[in-house]
Amino acid sequence: MMTETQQQARRAYRRRALVRTAGFYLLLAFVLAPFMFVFLYMVATSFKSPLDINSGSFTLWFTPTLDNYRDVLLGTDFLAFTVNSLVVAGCSTLIALVIGLPAAFAIARYKMPRLGAVILSSRITPGIAFLIPWFIIFSQVGWIDTYQALILSHLLVNLPLVTYLMVSFFEDFPEELLDSAAVDGASAVGTFVKVVLPVTRGGIASAAILGFVFSWNNFLFSVVIAGRDTRTLPVAVFEFMSYGSINWGAICAAATVMTLPVIVLALLVQRHIVEGLAGGSLKG
């Protein structure tokens, strides 16, 4: 049996909890708003006519138009830039897996910390340190503005990422599976290909997706090494600005189209993103 006062106390407690929850969500919205409004602004502007953009004050009430998307997708070589980005990111990720997976396995299983440290040190080294010598070498062999030069340079981004993400997966690999493969007489390489890789395919997929995203986003290497024929999306969209007056609606449309696939892919592997962004020393 509950007395009158007990019931009152409980109701008061519930009311206070409700106020606290509402306050928390209000605070949360206040904190998140600055992080989100940039994306909202990007998407909203991409649907605005030049008149609305130039009207001088921002509003979310406007008649949406697809003109900017039409201008970008049909009025520029956007498709070609996208293909360039896909080829460079795809190939460099594939090569990074071929080189990085065995290396990560060696670091995790055969205890080769020095190799791991050297590969990781490329994350500390300023990218431009590799870029000046590589720019000179690529110029001399006539590789500026070629896929192979871009792919090689993007490997500097991809390979360390794939390697240190996979080291932690391989370290967690169940010892028993390796033992039983060894008892069955499988070779080390055979075990790696037929046992280790299939079991860790989830991790490999995450590493591949993150490698692809980092390569897709890369600007520094591409802006120096790419030329007229191999411009990747970030370089191409950056160069939209230099054509006389800036068409902000078209730039926001291009930025939206360029960012969308990255966000979709990244959300698929969000558990590993923090680890990927913050080096091998952390698990997100």
């Binding site: 060696a106 500390i124 340190a129 010892e175 390489v189 930025a255 952390l282």
Partner: protein, 327 residues
Amino acid sequence: MTPPSTRARERRVQDEPRQDPGQGAEERRRGWLSGVNDVIDRHVKSVFATPAVAFVVLMMIFPIAYTLYLSLHDWYGSTTSPPTFVGVDNYVRIFSNDPRFWDALGRTLLFTGLAVSIQTVLGVAIAVLLHRQFAGRGLVRSLMLLPMIATPVAVALVWRLLFQPELGLLNDMLMAVGLSPSAWVADSSIALFCLVLVDVWEWTSLITLVTLSGLVALPTEPMEAAVVDGASAWQRFWLITLPMVRPVIVIAVVFRLIEALKTFDPIIVITQGGPGFATETLNIYIYNTAFQYQQLGYASALLLVFFAIVFTLAAVTLSFRRGKASS
């Protein structure tokens, strides 16, 4: 539980005598292919690691050695006139006769220090706010990832529009609350701070998410004991929570420090180092020296100095962390 290394050693000790006698017979039976396999197995370490080592030597060590060589030369990238040896002249010029270098260094340190401090304070505060059970927690975490993973050039372009004095949203907001509009990145006295704002926007979530993962992993007993002892929420945070998650936060901060020193995309997209040289950090200065002015020898010397600064800072902060951990 036996640690894995001990287990592995035991296994090897058991396995070896069993394998040895049969090996010769087996090799004969399986023939040539298994011979190749055995060679691979005996050198399995090098088979797995060689491609990566080759890559590291070719793509990382060789270019840095080449940079070292170039830094002792004068060269403007022409094929007809090869690099001319000038000894340490480039380094002498950096330290005695290049105010633009020192200004860029100062800006780089100011930018990095400010951005990372603000990120750390904000990031930890947001992590503490998010460290509780609530509906939509997963969604909030996903949203926090967006600034970090969205293509940096795309995001920087949007910020460039935001900073536009006539069209940009930021001046609309200033005027809406009755303040006078600002020139933002066009004003050389505040341009660098505008870029700090962009960096804070982009990377605060990294500190938040790393701290959050540290908070989740904390043991609950000390906290319960503190509640029993009547410690206030504020005391519990400063005296218990913060010291316990500090190692995780420090790793994230060190990582951010190194990355912030190298910031490139937003600066090139939003200001190109301008107005004047107001936002020219070391990275941008080196980029311009190499690829705008084609002074490849001097850029190489600058690069190695920059490289030394980044590595020294990384080493100092890491040793500071190790010292803290052992005390």
